[in-house]
Amino acid sequence: MKEILRQRFIEQIFVMFGREPRKPAQITERALRAHELKRMTNKQDLQAMKAHMRSHEEKSTRWRNRRWLTLIAINLLFVLSFALDIQILEGALTASRFIGFHLIDLNSAIQVMLAHKHIITNLLIGTATVLVLWILFGGRSFCSWVCPYHLLAEWAEKIHLWLAAKKLVTDQPIDRRLRSVFWVAFALLAVVTGYTVFESISPTGILSRAMIYGSGLLALLWVLALLVFEIFFVRRAWCRYACPIGLTYGVVGIVSPVRIKYTLDGCFHEGDCRKVCLVPHVLDTVIKGRAVDTEVPIGPDCTRCGLCVDTCPTGSLKFEVKGLSKLM
């Protein structure tokens, strides 16, 4: 049983780098039984159960609200620290000081180290602090709980989906392996050119600096172009297929205890969660017959945004802190 979950854990790392999720080769006995029982359920009973469940359904936005609040609060703290000179969180998202402690964004640190080929202590201290921080808080939760571009892209996504519902636009998916290619490409570009090439187009850095210093208004046009592209052509293109920051924090998320947990029992396999998810490939386990166990942790590429938790009508997707339930 442990072995099957371990294999899925490793598989999910490959999925993060761009492999398409596939049907598991091995499934635990109890999961097999659950799948079997679901298949045996009378069609009419199932319909009745679904209808009953839907009639009691409450559209929740609990996690989304908490997340938006957190994201805005953190970015506001950056802005106010400078604007009002309260000096709590000084700097920008690429590098800052929280009450004096150095915090360095992991991806920016990698870019600087590769381009400059010289490492100083402050940079290492700040990088280590941030690494520990995001191991604790869930890797890509940086994306959905902190990154200002994520919020703008979420709003752009709403416009995209509204237009798509009116059949005015269609999502044009891209090969997910592209993000890994970009990561390597930007790393190589930093080494070869000696410039932090990615930083000059990173919407995260551009937005953060624009908010705090009011600088880089031309650069905001690039961010706007990205958003327009996402509205009319490719849904969430930057976060899904391009951003190396996401992949860097995704790797941190491999060892993070904060994650979403899927429980097979109550799930009707309707796929509402996959429709709202930024990275639906991590939710392949909710597809009928795919869950390898009765409880399956969601993989590292998950941004822990909680949209699926809000959306799931059966409570089959929940936040979990690994090991905490055992302690309690």
Binding site: E20, R22, K23, F82, E90, G91, A92, T94, A95, S96, R97, H102, A109, V112, A115, H116, H118, I120, N122, L123, Q172, P173, I174, D175, L178, V181, F182, F186, L189, G194, Y195, T196, V197, E199, S200, I201, G205, I206, R209, I212, Y213, S215, G216, L217, L218, A219, L221, W222, R235, Y241, H269, E270, G271, R274, P280, V286, I287, K288, G289, R290
Partner: protein
């Protein structure tokens, strides 16, 4: 996405069986081909945008004046993490972050000396202290070469704290050097004096005047000058012995007064900021070294 297909029970099996490559319909193949094309397009778009950052560097018309303690331009651009912590500590807001027009210099700090020069009001070169990556540094790592003429003969003495126990600035290299680029317009050379606010009543730039307040820089517009022979650059210069008015001799043998820059000049740009002629007669040459 093809979510709808995948989540319906029937096709879940089909997708799952992907390992043995099922025969694809013509439509599927076309879809796949389009996806490859789109992927290539997005790759080109993003990398194109990223590499276009080279253009402003390749076509750069003028070099930027960087904050004190900055590494040489290439090292500075590669090591700066673009966080703006130097911007936050500067008491006169001399440091700005560059925009997209600077290419890879986007988000990197610079000083527009004519608008607001660094006058070392912070006494301790705070921006260097704030820098988390060593792009601004008191002491350059040994393996980095020093530009010819960049090394200061001795630590510059800050006039504002000349009577302190430690009167020097912890600076080993200059960020540029002042030159009288337009001697023909210089008021001192013309033998003219100057009366009034140096840059007009509207000018926003600030400067610390020891005679007014040791700790608080005030707008230049609030500190009018009145001199029989213009020596504003000498009066405003924060570094001891960096500039003085000297008698110089023209080729025809006639003598006139002129500002003369000396070796201790660190390239802060205060002289350029206060120069009352338009455009400034004295300017900072960013990154240039001292030539005797």
């Amino acid at each position: 996405m093809s979510d709808a297909e995948e989540t319906s029970p029937g096709s879940a099996e089909k997708v799952g069986a992907g390992r043995t490559a099922p025969p694809q319909s013509k439509e599927r193949k076309q879809q796949a081909r389009r996806r490859v094309l789109r992927t290539i397009l997005l790759t080109g778009g993003v990398l194109g945008a990223a590499l276009s950052g080279y253009l402003p560097i390749a076509y750069a018309q003028k070099t930027r004046l960087r904050p004190p303690g900055a590494l040489d331009e290439q090292d500075f651009l590669s090591s700066c993490i673009k966080c703006g912590q130097c911007v936050q500590v500067c008491p006169v807001q001399a440091i700005k972050l560059a925009d997209l027009a600077d290419g890879y210099g986007q988000g990197v700090p610079y000083i527009e000396a004519r608008e607001q020069a660094c006058d070392f009001s912070c006494d301790a070169v705070q921006c260097i202290l704030a820098c988390p990556t060593g792009s601004l540094t008191y002491r350059k790592p040994a393996f980095m070469p020093v530009r010819p003429g960049a090394k200061l003969a001795s630590k510059p003495i800050l006039l504002a704290k000349e009577s302190d126990a430690e009167p020097t600035l912890n600076l080993a290299e200059r960020i540029g050097v002042a030159r009288l680029t337009r001697p023909e317009s210089c008021l001192a050379i013309q033998g003219k004096g100057f009366k009034g606010p140096a840059r007009g009543a509207e000018f926003k730039g600030e400067l610390r005047y020891m005679s007014v307040d040791r700790w608080k820089p005030i707008p230049i517009s609030e500190h009018p000058y009145d001199t029989a022979l213009c020596d504003l650059c000498v009066q405003a210069c924060p570094v001891k012995g960096a500039i003085s008015i000297e008698a110089v001799f023209a080729p025809d043998g006639s003598s006139r007064k002129s500002p003369v820059v000396h070796e201790p000049c660190v390239g802060c740009g205060v002289c350029e900021m206060v120069c009352p002629t338009e455009p400034a007669s004295i300017e900072i040459m960013p990154g240039e070294g001292w030539r005797a």
